[in-house]
Subunit: 230 residues, 2 copies
């Protein structure tokens, strides 16, 4: 195994262990020692990738956002894709689930949880700003307000889906969210061409994985940063 | 003081005490004994109004919804008003805040929190169904889906506002929410007449209070039920 690939795997193992421990014990009670035990790696390996418990939390947050999706000519389609894919991953990937749990953990007083929402907000702002520059948005749209609303609404929608049915209907709920939002922000010609179906997530994820397979280092900004430091 | 009025006040005192104890200790750890101490009422008085800890939680939930607002000819305007007023009360009334805290308390495993969302959902369904019957909604609107989305989105929006700035901008965020939603569900002639301003909450609350002053027993379904049992 190449050295870079090994570093990426170790980093992922540590993050998964940290996510599981945060999930079970809460961020405040969790210790680095427990995460080491769970991951089965040396202290040196952990501190090579993450300098502190907070950096581990940031790593878990980043995991939610760091996924390569196939680029689309419509930036609003990319926004929709990222929402649908996040819904899909929340159902299937414990690490992504833990990331949301951590952001919503009201007991984690010593963690700056606004950071998690901030990173997600920034990503939405960027996509919406690109959409605006391409003429995809109606003229009145305030990019920052819409991005913040999207982050808040998505958080609440997934929370209610978790409470009602363990997130089994989350993709459908995210479709309903976009169906209600997009007519207020997209120009009609773009709106008519958007694909907002629940089945799209699976397809987009598969396409993304193929691209990642071709260029592995592009999979995750976090992974790239850590491995290039090797 | 009339007997009915006294019963309403006692009930309110008990609910405020319960809300404070749930807020500080979490629902699971809170005991009836602590709530009695805090309220300064007898065990008999508490059990006259509430049969169990769970009934106290239901009472706290109901408080969020049981407020008389001035009726409007547009049912969508009533929907908007209830959202704006809830935002305002979340900032100013500890009991309403505790109600939301309880609904989002992930540690309250022995409490059916879906009930809180269910009651709120039902209220939205009713208003939207009335709006639909009056021809205020676009033909494709699925009342249940829209009501559930509204409950989820509002929950997330208030959560993010709490995290970012202790809910100081909550009314503005709820305005943004409605501005994004309503164009997808309201017929244009109704949409153009809706008042979705942040300042409206205060005005509507004041009008509601005047009406409540005239007919006190209509203030809260819970209060009515309890006092008529006296």
């Amino acid at each position: 195994m190449a050295r870079q690939e090994r570093a990426i795997r170790t980093r992922r193992t540590i993050l998964e262990a940290a996510a599981a421990v945060f999930d079970e014990r809460g961020y405040t009670s969790a210790t680095i020692g427990e995460i080491l035990d769970r991951a089965g790696v040396t202290k040196g390996a952990l501190y090579f990738h993450f300098g502190s418990k907070e950096e581990l939390a940031v790593g878990v947050f980043e995991e939610q956002l760091s996924i390569a999706l196939p680029p689309q000519s419509s930036k609003l389609q990319e926004l929709v894709d990222s929402g649908l894919v996040l819904a899909r991953r929340l159902r299937s990937e414990p690490l992504v689930r833990a990331s949301v749990g951590l952001a919503l953990d009201q007991g984690a007083m010593d963690l700056d949880r606004t950071m998690a929402f901030g990173m997600w907000f920034d990503q939405n702002v960027q996509r919406l700003a690109e959409a605006k520059a391409q003429g995809e948005l109606l003229p009145h749209v305030d990019v920052a307000e819409t991005a913040e609303l999207l982050v808040g609404s998505f958080s609440g929608v997934q929370l209610l889906s978790q409470l009602r049915c363990q997130r089994q209907d989350l993709e459908r709920r995210v479709v309903v969210l976009f169906e209600h939002f997009l007519p207020s922000i997209a120009v009609p010609a773009v709106l008519a061409r958007l694909d907002i179906s629940a089945e799209r997530a699976e397809r987009v994820l598969a396409e993304g994985r193929e691209q990642v397979g071709a260029v592995p280092a592009q999979a995750s900004p976090g992974a790239v940063r850590a491995s290039s430091a090797t």
